[in-house]
């Protein structure tokens, strides 16, 4: 299993850099994972998206439908792509420490 290390953070990830153990997630991990997604610094808006994803994940065990994410976080899909260049499923979910989405996602 590959290990991702940056500064203090040391986590197990899969080949695509998604966390293997979403429970081990914390703010420092999010900041470290963000660097792999081309996000140098997490703004307040980034955190809003991340926390929404985390909360939904804690409740339902999966990421929300993208439309729901947009509507409830108040950002358009375009804005989310601007924040997380690889998009909501691959970018935002990765930084939020969710497992890699499977299937045709």
């Amino acid at each position: 299993m590959p290990i991702f290390e940056l500064g203090e953070v040391k986590i197990q990830v899969d080949e695509d850099g998604f966390m293997e153990e979403p429970e081990a997630w914390n703010d420092a991990v999010a900041r470290a994972l963000a660097t792999t997604e081309g996000v140098a610094e997490l703004s307040e808006n980034h955190w809003k998206v991340i926390h929404y994803l985390r909360d939904y994940y804690a409740k339902f065990g999966i990421a929300p439908m993208i439309r729901k994410l947009c509507k409830e976080s108040g950002f358009s899909l375009k804005e989310i792509y601007e924040m997380f260049p690889s998009g909501p499923a691959k970018g935002a979910c990765k930084v939020a420490g969710l497992a890699k989405p499977t299937g045709c996602v």
Partner: protein, 473 residues
């Protein structure tokens, strides 16, 4: 058409292995997709054993016996293959790829081949041949366009499918597909995108709220209703990605009042078995049919998804009781039927942009669903344009055959496999590209993004949702 070949730089990028060096080293298999750890010892023997078992328990031998006699390696298929057109690499010519497997069959499973092998002492299966197959069979998007051209009637996509099947039996299959299928068949959620039932219910409730706000009409997603006309199985990823497609379908049913339902026992139309393993194909098809039977439904209704439609349409009868199996229809067939009966009203002044229709290979190549969606679109889109070639002869989106789910080969899909499609889309000048297939949608969105084409990829029911008119009650 004057087509530009991929540049050396593009080709190198597209074919570059994306695995980490330590993974390549460990698995001794330098291919471009991730595979799970598997036993790398003695692969040729295990490959041949798997091949022998499959031959024994299937009808492939009849096809192979025919193909080894007919194969002329004339390479007429090369003019049809969009991968070869873009890569210019002879190893991408369909009959070259088919020959990889046919020569193994000839050598190891025919009397002449076995004698020749003994006498000459060469031509036996090697590790290198397995590695070439592992690479080559997943360069193909299984669009089956080559089979239209082959004068000998060789089904190259069938051979690619068989090759992938045998490889998967010895552990060589893209991890992305294997993981999804495992979740679908053995996981807690029982579907490829791992959506638990509470999340599904939450999503459907959210969509109902959204439709109430947008349309001012109460539109429902019926859950677990027994005895419905249609039991609905979309590509399960639609519940995460395609809000508009699902709302469009729900709106159509709300307008007609026909009974339909989604079952919480199983609600996934996806069947990756079609791409790499008949064993999985059978198990998934049976799961689908069992859920429709549990709900005492009269028809299996597949959402906007090409491979889901094909795997259900052609394999539900095979595995679930022949003539006694439930009929399978695609949502576009249903919408077309009710539109013709005048039960669906669409506003003709909503969609004014240029609209083009992309045929998903899995429903168009055999001539099944070609005209229906076009008739639907032309009935309310003012500005419909056609891409050439289309229909039975359409060009693949570049992500067919399961390759779209393999994220690590995205550069390959968008620079080589989808290159011809990209040119086609650009030439059509469309603003809306309608692709009624979860697979095609994902690939085409990545394609237009990477190739910088200005158009929006949507489903057919996304547009219907925009234009639908409800009778005031």
């Amino acid at each position: 058409m004057d087509r530009k070949k991929a540049t050396d730089e593009e080709r190198a990028r597209a074919y570059a292995p994306t695995k980490k060096p330590d993974v390549i080293n460990k698995q001794k298999l330098d291919v471009r997709y991730h595979v799970e750890d598997y036993d790398v010892s003695d692969r040729p023997r295990r490959f041949l054993e798997a091949f022998a078992v499959i031959l024994r328990h299937s009808n492939y031998r009849f096809a192979l016996e025919h193909f080894i006699r007919m194969s002329a390696k004339c390479a007429r298929c090369a003019v049809q293959c969009q991968v070869y057109q873009a890569s210019g690499d002879f190893r991408d010519i369909p009959c070259y790829r088919s020959e990889l497997l046919l020569k193994i069959y000839r050598q190891h499973f025919t009397v002449g081949g076995m004698l020749k092998g003994r006498l000459l002492g060469k031509g036996f299966l090697t590790d290198e041949m397995i590695e070439e197959m592992a690479d080559s069979f997943w360069n193909c998007t299984a669009c089956r366009r080559c089979t239209m051209e082959c004068p000998a009637g060789i089904d190259h996509a069938l051979l690619t499918h068989l090759g992938r099947y045998i490889l998967s039996e010895i552990g060589i299959a893209p991890r992305a597909l294997v993981v999804s299928v495992r979740e679908q068949l053995e996981g807690k959620s029982g579907n490829t995108s791992a959506i638990p039932i509470p999340a599904l219910l939450d999503t459907l409730e959210f969509l109902e709220d959204d439709m109430r706000e947008a349309k001012g009409v109460e539109i429902k997603f019926p859950i677990d209703v027994e005895g419905c006309d249609f039991v609905f199985f979309p590509a399960v990823s639609d519940f995460l990605m395609e809000a508009d497609t699902l709302m469009g379908i729900a709106a159509v049913f709300a307008a007609t009042g026909d009974s339909w339902t989604t079952g919480t026992g199983y609600f996934d139309g996806i069947n990756y078995g079609l791409f790499y393993s008949d064993r999985m194909l059978e198990r998934i098809v049976k799961k689908l049919h069992a859920e429709a039977e549990r709900l005492k439904g009269k028809n299996i209704l597949i959402g906007e998804c090409g491979h889901a439609s094909r795997s259900a349409k052609y394999f539900v009868p095979t595995y679930c009781g022949g003539k006694d199996a439930l009929p399978v229809i695609n949502i576009m067939e249903y919408t077309y039927r009710i539109l013709n009966k005048g039960r669906l009203k669409l506003d003709q002044n909503i969609i004014t942009e240029t609209v083009a229709y992309h045929d998903p290979c899995n429903i168009a190549r055999q001539g099944w669903i070609i005209d229906q969606p076009r008739e639907i679109l032309k009935s309310f889109c003012k500005n419909y344009v056609e891409m050439e070639p289309h229909g039975e002869n359409n060009i693949c989106c570049g992500g067919g055959g399961g390759t779209v789910s393999i994220d690590e080969i995205r550069p390959y899909r968008t620079t080589v496999a989808g290159k011809v499609k990209a040119e086609q889309i650009r030439a059509s000048g469309c603003k809306y590209l309608v692709a009624p297939c979860a697979n095609c949608k994902k690939q085409l969105r990545e394609l237009v993004e990477d190739q910088k084409i200005d158009c929006e990829v949507v489903g057919l029911h996304d547009l219907i949702y925009k234009a639908i008119i409800f009778d005031k009650k």
